[in-house]
């Protein structure tokens, strides 16, 4: 059975090479390179399921062309990323790429998409470089840049009358990029980021940092942590008795998917993100119902990002009649479109990052309730992006 199918596949790929990619009859292959095991497995599953939901809603076709999906577990391992990308492009001959969650792994995808001119849709990883210095006509992002949620948080604090704030994070790319967003957001409202406190990733001895906070003379503390580190930080912050004196806020990931273990310590924490609980728009309602029906799980921000990656690819291929190699026309169609996202409709910036509303949320009873807009129609500055 095995050798036969392998030969069949080789024959298939040889045929694919021989015939022009435009062949309308051949299905379009989309490679989903996502984490299906390890720490981020749940995120990868939700992205993939929502992408599939989008495909189903389009009758299994994008741009009039049938689509087949090729799933590949990237294990969130940057060391394996180049080989995994090669497998999808070289062996599986995919026509478009969707991936991934981990910021280290996504760089291999970005590089391949730039060199081979294969369209790539990033459904999570927020490294600013992907839509700044390393931007490319073939790279699109359906999620956010690390700069965006933190900018929204800073802006919301300044609007509330905060004059000085500090930022606490791990000393790594996402932490630094979000600190810049926070600084710029505060500045937009005349407030100031006076201190950035960092500790090495993934250390969790927060005590030396926490004990400094009361003496800094700031009105609020913002932070970027995610996952287990976010749980520990929020709990330690509350245990240090700082919650009532120095309100804690942050990029939405501080309380995303971790509210249950954080418990009472998270109650009332405000965060900013491009999605949240209780967003009242018809698209969100229908999306959440459909996702629940399909997977028996609740939709989250990752599902939204996966769904919108599908919508973006659909719009692009509709503009090229199913030709994924016509990168220019594909990009033009996507940039011209208004993506009807469950987060609220958005358009794509010139550097291919969503221009989107960053919502202000408050943690209440295990939910990140949206309480307003922190920054409307916010675009990443896209500094350093030179797109031909």
């Amino acid at each position: 059975m095995r050798p036969l199918s392998r030969r069949f596949m080789l024959a298939g790929s040889a045929a694919a090479l021989a015939t022009p990619a435009i062949a309308q009859g051949a299905p379009l292959k989309v490679g989903l390179m996502l984490p299906f095991s390890g720490t981020f497995a749940a995120l990868g599953e939700n992205i993939a399921a929502a992408f599939e939901l989008c495909l189903q809603e389009n009758g299994g076709k994008f741009g009039g062309r049938a689509v087949t999906l090729v799933r590949l577990d990237d294990e969130s391992d940057p060391a394996k990323a180049p080989a995994n990308v090669n497998r999808l492009l070289g062996r599986d001959n995919v026509d478009a790429l969707v991936g991934t969650v981990h910021s280290g792994v996504v760089m291999a995808l970005v590089q391949a998409a730039r060199e081979k001119e294969v369209p790539l849709f990033i459904p999570n990883a927020g490294n600013v470089a992907a839509t700044r210095d390393l931007c490319s006509p073939s790279v699109f992002r359906s999620s956010f840049s690390n700069w965006q949620p933190a900018y929204g948080m800073g802006k919301a604090l300044a609007a509330r009358g905060v004059k000085k704030a500090a930022w606490v994070t791990w000393d790594y790319a996402a932490g630094r990029e979000s600190a810049e967003g926070f600084r710029d957001g505060l500045k937009s409202g005349g407030a100031e980021l006076t201190q950035i406190l960092t500790l090495p990733f993934p250390e969790t001895n927060f005590q030396p940092i926490l004990a400094q906070l009361p003496g800094l003379g700031v009105d609020a503390v913002g932070s970027f942590f995610a996952g287990g580190g976010a749980i520990q930080f929020v709990k330690d912050y509350a245990a240090a008795g700082l919650r009532d004196k120095l309100p804690l806020c942050g990029s939405g990931f501080l309380t995303e998917g971790v509210l249950k273990p954080q418990g009472a310590a998270a109650e009332g924490i405000q965060t900013a993100l491009h999605y949240g609980d209780g967003l009242d728009n018809p698209k969100n309602k229908s999306f959440r119902e459909a996702f629940q029906k399909m997977t028996n799980r609740s939709a989250d921000v990752y599902a939204v990002q996966g769904y919108d990656a599908g919508q973006m690819l659909a719009v692009g291929l509709a503009g090229t009649k199913g030709d994924a190699t016509a990168i220019k026309a594909l990009g033009a169609a996507i940039r011209a479109a208004r993506i009807d996202s469950p987060r609220g409709a958005f358009t794509l910036s010139a550097s291919h990052n969503p221009i989107q509303t960053i919502w202000l949320r408050e943690a209440r009873n295990g939910e990140n309730r949206v309480i307003g807009a922190a920054a409307e129609a916010l675009a990443d500055p896209g500094t350093g992006c030179k797109m031909a």
Binding site: P208, A211, G228, A239, G241
Partner: protein, 289 residues
């Protein structure tokens, strides 16, 4: 006023961190002093204790059970390791022993990944200690953190009593300082080795279990502690419990104050101190040699 309050809070943080560090490095210094083994896997034993606490706390819902489990499990596991492995390497070169302990690190890491996963897990604080006590200038301490501080002090006191006041304790000291005396006195060195390795393992695992709710558990969580513990041992003097105690406090304070006041130099401060001590007193601050 706030600056002074901040300093006092940091000093408390440093003492708490230093005491935890003592728990880990006391076992390391005993093993080093008595057996002459550089146990690189000591940080992994700390990690095993923390994961044990995580598993026990999530299965039974009680962290309290994890503490005796870590001690008992550590004694058994340590004795097993000594009898099964380290004993066979006694007559071998240091390099062989180092390779053995390095192999153990890899084995423990793989076993952890296979049995559990590579995720970051938080361990809840016991419900009875889930409150905070205001300490200094608007800075509060969780009751659990204070309890850990007290437990570490208690263990340190017991250890000093045991090593200084009991017969086995003097045999251990003798083995660390004048190994030939142990043979002259007709004491079975093998049993002392088993005892020391078992106790050292139990201490590291107890430290891990205590630290689990404070640090969360994650792969490689013992690495940073291993390096700091070696520095503690070198500064305190090989095999000296009192030396380990005072130098752990010193390192805890310098590391914490460094992170708070000169974060750029925090990583170097501790190593610089070690370099100075090595130049000034090569055998450590508290060695009797």
């Amino acid at each position: 006023m706030t600056a002074l309050a901040g300093l006092l809070a940091q000093i408390l943080n440093g003492i708490q961190y230093g005491l935890l560090l003592f728990l880990i490095s006391s076992g390391l210094t005993l093993i080093f002093g008595v057996m002459g083994v550089i146990n690189l896997a000591h940080g992994s034993l700390f990690m095993i204790g923390a994961y044990l606490a995580y598993v026990i706390a999530s299965v039974t819902g009680s962290l309290w059970l994890a503490l005796p489990a870590a001690i008992l499990g550590g004694v058994l596991f340590g004795a097993l390791l000594e009898r099964g492995l380290f004993r066979r390497f006694r007559a071998r070169e240091h390099l062989d022993q180092v390779l053995l302990t390095f192999a153990l690190i890899l084995l423990f890491e793989e076993a952890r990944a296979a049995l559990l996963d590579n995720q970051f897990h938080s361990v809840p604080v016991p419900a009875i200690l889930d409150f905070s006590v205001p300490v200094i200038g608007g800075f509060a301490y969780s009751a659990y953190r204070l309890a850990v501080l007290v437990i570490c002090l208690g263990v340190a006191g017991l250890m000093v009593l045991f090593v200084e006041r009991t017969k086995i304790g003097s045999a251990i000291r003798a083995a660390a300082e004048k190994p030939e005396m142990v043979d002259l006195l007709g004491i079975d060195a093998g049993r002392i080795h088993t005892l020391v390795f078992a106790a050292g393992t139990a201490l590291a695992m107890l430290a891990g279990a205590l630290a689990a709710p404070l640090q969360s558990v994650y792969p490689g969580m013992g690495d940073g502690f291993l390096i700091l513990s070696f520095i503690v041992v070198v500064i305190g003097g090989l095999g000296s419990i009192a030396g380990a105690f005072w130098s752990a406090l010193l390192i805890g304070l310098i590391d914490t104050l460094g992170k708070a006041y000169v974060p750029q130099a925090a990583g170097i401060a501790v190593c610089a101190l070690m370099a100075v001590v090595l130049l000034w007193r090569p055998t450590g601050l508290f060695s009797r040699a």
